[in-house]
């Protein structure tokens, strides 16, 4: 009863945001002269219309879910980790290089590549956490700026030292990973790969972790009221490093899964261009950092994106219609954030006044 209530409550806002988003999309469709019903029907078909399209949506949702989970964990602890982009790319790059250069059988390469992706991204993310605990550098800014370093570093790595020089086309990419080290596809001929299982398992594990473990409890309290947590003996610094490591690690896993399950090599820009990282952050915001909600929101965003491609293929309405709907979603979500931000500011002010008395 209580749980049902809680779920219904947490779903209300996102559903409302989606409805408004679709309504705004409808207006835009009418302005460009398309048929609203046809366009949305095409969008539905593009996302869920056949088994092929459905698995396509799942494949796209995979990195978004994993990234969203990582961001959700950090948000729950009160840390605004905006570094998913850089963490994703470092994870992908590390996975590709490990799979290419570590000797051994395919399954070993695969396992080590995934672990390398998680660890590289986790350390990158925990580094920002360390800068916060050690030098009080604002996490929001460090994570954001570390993205640039990661992106350009990866770009350099694949356009110079590790560039694929076998083909005639000089693309900024690594050579292809050998077949045996690929993440298996879940269905013959479909794009969804085993990474999706990681995403599902990750969702459940994170849900259980936050709800039932002591450390998850401490994360929640730290996010709820940092002063209360420190008063109760929660070690903020330690918890920050751990949660940032796991948060980044999940983004790294997303990158590794994309490289090993879809592209089989690290291609410069291929992880940034689809906007996985920002979609992940959006999914988290839509679901108020609830793990299961985040996974559902990620699926929704992926469906909007693959559906948008369907719209572009079959109607005169451009692909950007999806971006427009997403943008309206973001607006709605950010309206809620700034609202709660103002509320918190007021509370903090009141608390400051109270303590000075």
């Amino acid at each position: 009863m209580n749980l049902v209530n809680q779920i219904a409550k947490s779903l209300l806002q996102p559903l409302l945001a989606i409805l408004v988003g679709l309504a705004a999309g409808a207006v835009a469709i009418m302005i460009v002269g398309g048929s609203v019903v046809d366009t949305y029907a095409e969008m539905w078909k593009g996302a869920f219309g056949s088994f092929y399209f459905f698995t396509n949506t799942l494949a796209r949702a995979t990195p978004i879910i994993l990234i969203g989970l990582g961001v959700a964990l950090a948000f729950r602890a009160g840390f605004f980790n905006l570094g998913a982009e850089g963490q994703l790319i470092l994870g992908g790059l590390s996975a590709a290089l490990t799979a290419l250069h570590v000797p051994g059988p395919g399954w070993l390469k695969l396992t080590l590549a995934i672990i390398a992706g998680i660890i590289a991204a986790g350390i990158w993310s925990a580094f920002a956490g360390w800068l916060d605990t050690r030098f009080r550098m604002n996490l929001l800014i460090t994570t954001l700026l570390l993205n640039y370093i990661a992106v350009y570093f990866a770009s350099y790595m694949v356009s110079h030292p590790f560039m694929d020089r076998t083909g005639s086309a000089a693309m900024a990419q690594t050579p292809m990973v050998e077949n045996a080290a690929w993440l298996p596809k879940l269905f013959q001929g479909m794009s969804v790969h085993a990474g999706f299982l990681f995403a599902m398992i990750g969702t459940i594990l994170l849900f259980l972790y936050i709800r039932y473990t002591v450390s998850g409890y401490e994360v929640r309290m730290l996010g709820g009221n940092p002063l209360f947590a420190s008063y109760g003996g929660v070690r903020r610094g330690r918890l920050m490093l751990i949660s940032m490591f796991v948060s980044g690690g999940l983004a790294g896993l997303a990158g590794a899964a994309e490289v090993l399950g879809t592209q089989y090599r690290f291609i410069d820009g291929s992880l940034s261009a689809p906007g996985y990282a920002w979609s992940g952050i959006m999914a988290t915001l839509l679901a108020s950092s609830h793990p299961i909600g985040t996974a559902l929101a990620a699926l929704l965003l992926a469906a909007l994106q693959t559906g948008g491609m369907g719209v572009e293929r079959n109607t005169d309405v451009p692909l950007e219609i999806s971006s427009l709907i997403q943008a309206v979603l973001i607006l709605f979500v950010s309206a809620r954030i700034s609202y709660s931000f103002i509320k918190n500011r007021k509370k903090a002010r009141a608390a400051a006044d109270g303590s000075s008395t």
């Binding site: 209580n2 039932y212 309290m221 002063l227 209360f228 008063y231 109270g354 303590s355």
Partner: protein
């Protein structure tokens, strides 16, 4: 009758906050509204002030039936309210704070000269001296309280509601405030004072209405009643008079030597504090808040690190220990500001109760949820904490019930040393009795308790020894038997150690 509220009923869902409440106010009267937390005092006043709509009942002002839809409406009809937490802008001057909303203007700008002269005139007229040019942030709380009242008067209020007006004031400021209230009442203003401090009620009120569980249990003239009768009406039974039994303190549990904390200003926030608390002893620290008590508690509990000095708990050096280590060494801590330190408002009652107890309720890193709920449910029963369920968010509990939850949580540790900072701030008489009883019991069982309170009566009632803090130093120490309110008040105001 100036104001008449008849048969006021207010229901929130199934919960009835006010049940057929009658309340009236004569011109020039001081009418105290007393009752425990959750008795419905605030709800009744929120209805009068236009912040809530009653489910049933009528309000008449000067014989006219009225129903306010907003505070602005109430203000326009001459009703003003001074809230428990002051609503002033710290960086603006007194004059600016008072004229806000009805500023004298000149070419679209605020006319500072007129504002200042208006406020000076107002201050003179009502005999409440303030310097209109001073910035609020630099003023004492007593002065801020005065500014709040002047603001309401400037809005043209004839009826003034004061919500727990003396909570943050020093004894001297309380006296001044009560005198001002009496003087204003003589000049024709009418007051409604919401409070739970019965002695002040007896000092200032003409009439008293007592609420319990949303119903009026008594409406009496102050001249025809006494504190005992009032508390009986409030609680519904006689209160036990707590007695401290004679007891010789044992080993020192907490020891501070020369503890100094620099702070940001030129003066240290804590200046060579020496103190010790022994087993079986309650040491009370009196003082006006803001004289270093908060910082002292933070240093003891490990939330702040001192710049110099020694700090021992049960003989072990804890100067560089973490909060967790100090708690493990035997400290429990009822924090002074429950919302800032004591709870996470968005978290549930059960989650808030678990804080600090995680080590006891864990297996393989998992929380033993059932056991935790059992423990918290026990507290809810023993301290009669009013909460919807254990899954209710802490923010939905009233301040007093939240305080009981925090007290129960910290007592549960059964630690050798307990910090009790403002343990009964904002709680009602019944709960206060329970909390005081628990603190004394802890002492009788050989616990060491450091009590910090801005309520002098509380310090006098519970402590074996009393220290007074002023500007980061301990300026006076006395045994409870030899303590007098006068001497302590003098120390609190910065008088020298005799």
């Amino acid at each position: 009758m100036l104001l008449q509220m008849k048969g006021i009923t207010k229901a929130y869902g199934g919960v009835i906050a006010n049940k057929h409440v009658d309340f009236s106010l004569k011109k020039g009267e001081v009418h105290a509204l007393v009752g425990e937390n959750g008795a419905g005092k605030t709800t009744l006043m929120r209805i009068l002030y236009g912040m809530e709509t009653p489910t049933d009942g009528s309000i008449t002002l000067n014989g006219k039936p009225l129903q306010f839809s907003s505070p602005a409406d109430a203000i326009a009809n001459g009703i003003g309210m001074v809230h428990q937490h002051f609503m002033l802008y710290p960086s603006f001057t007194i004059a600016e704070n008072i004229v806000i909303g009805r500023e004298p203007r000149r070419f679209g700008f605020i006319n500072q000269f007129r504002a200042i002269s208006e406020v000076a005139e107002l201050s003179r007229q009502y005999g409440m001296p303030v310097d209109p040019r001073r910035v609020i942030g630099d003023c004492s709380l007593g002065v801020q309280q005065r500014v709040e009242i002047l603001k309401v008067l400037h809005q043209g209020a004839e009826i003034i509601i004061l919500d727990e007006p003396t909570g943050v004031l020093t004894p001297l400021e309380v006296k001044e405030l009560l005198e001002s209230v009496r003087r204003l009442a003589r000049s024709g203003k009418s007051f409604i004072i919401i409070t739970h401090k019965l002695q002040e009620v007896m000092d200032v009120a003409d009439r008293i209405t007592v609420l319990r569980d949303g119903e009026v249990t008594g409406a009496v003239d102050a001249s025809g009643t006494n504190v005992d009768e009032l508390s009986r009406l409030m609680v519904g039974r006689d209160l036990v008079n707590l007695q401290r039994k004679e007891q010789t303190p044992g080993q020192p549990i907490l020891e501070l030597e020369g503890i100094t904390l620099a702070g940001s200003g030129s003066k240290p926030v804590l200046d060579h504090i020496n103190l010790s608390v022994h087993a079986g002893e309650i040491v009370g620290i009196a003082g006006i808040s803001g004289n270093g008590q908060s910082e002292l508690l933070q240093v003891i509990s490990g939330l702040a690190k001192p710049d110099a000095g020694a700090l021992r708990l049960q003989g072990k050096d804890i100067k560089d220990a973490s909060v967790r280590q100090i708690r493990e060494q035997g400290l429990a801590h009822i924090p002074e500001d429950r919302y800032q330190w004591g709870v996470a408002k968005e978290a549930t009652v059960a989650d808030n109760g678990l804080m600090g107890h995680t080590d006891r309720y864990t297996k393989y890193g998992l929380i033993k949820g059932g056991k935790v709920r059992e423990m918290v449910r026990g507290w809810v029963e023993r301290f009669s904490i009013k909460t919807g369920s254990l899954d209710t968010k802490a923010q939905h509990l009233s301040g007093g019930n939240l305080q009981k939850l925090i007290v129960a949580r910290e007592l549960e540790h059964r630690s050798p040393f307990l910090i009790a900072a403002e343990p009964t701030r904002g709680v009602d008489v019944g709960a206060m009795e329970v909390i005081h009883g628990e603190l004394l019991k802890r002492r009788d069982d050989g616990g060491a308790v450091l009590l910090v309170s801005s309520e002098l009566t509380e310090v006098l009632k519970l402590s074996d020894r009393i220290l007074v803090m002023y500007e980061g130093r301990i300026v006076g120490e006395t045994r409870a038997e030899e303590a007098s309110e006068e001497r302590i008040s003098l120390w609190m105001a910065g008088g020298k150690r005799q």
